[in-house]
Amino acid sequence: MRVTVRFFASHREATGLSTYIADVPDGSSAAEVLGSLCGSFPKLKSASVRVAFAINRNHVNPATPLRDGDELALLPPMAGG
């Protein structure tokens, strides 16, 4: 299946990308997609030690499975305010 991955802040700088289309096995979890991305983008590994996930704009836990066409956002430590 294909999911759209969004990178922000330190992740965006580590990958050089804001958006990336990932081909991953059906039913992959958010954490599993991150694992596969760290293979493609080695710098992402150290930049994503503390990461949160959102699927289709909602916070989710790392074990949540994705569906084809979902938008997965990797969220570095947030610092609004």
Binding site: R50, N58, A73, P77, A79, G80
Partner: protein
Amino acid sequence: MTKRFSLSSQPLDEHAITAVVSRHDAGGVVTFVGRVRDNARGHDVVALEYEAYPEMAEHVFEQIADEATSRFPIKHVAIHHRSGRLVVGEPSVIVAVSAAHRGAAFEACEYVIDQVKARAPIWKKEFTPDGAVWVDDRP
């Protein structure tokens, strides 16, 4: 008409945001305005750059406001946050809460800003005389 929830690259208009939550039946409005400080964690700060996931940020603002409205006896909530580059002294976030009685407005306003900082998909790069770094405020 000013929106209740907004992430914007335009300067924040405190008066307009307070007006959004003010109704004739609301006796008190508590507002929090966060501004860019000239120092943080012991070093000077020259400017900040906010990056956000805008479509999700406004959605999270609305969720936080809904939670506040169900937890506290308040009337209306507005949350506006800046994106882009800000200089020292500029407002980065404004939260306004109206209520018939002030105690609930104070509690809810503090709840909302705490949640925005914890959960809104917004990041902040700090520019100091020595360089720039993405801020990680979490303990």
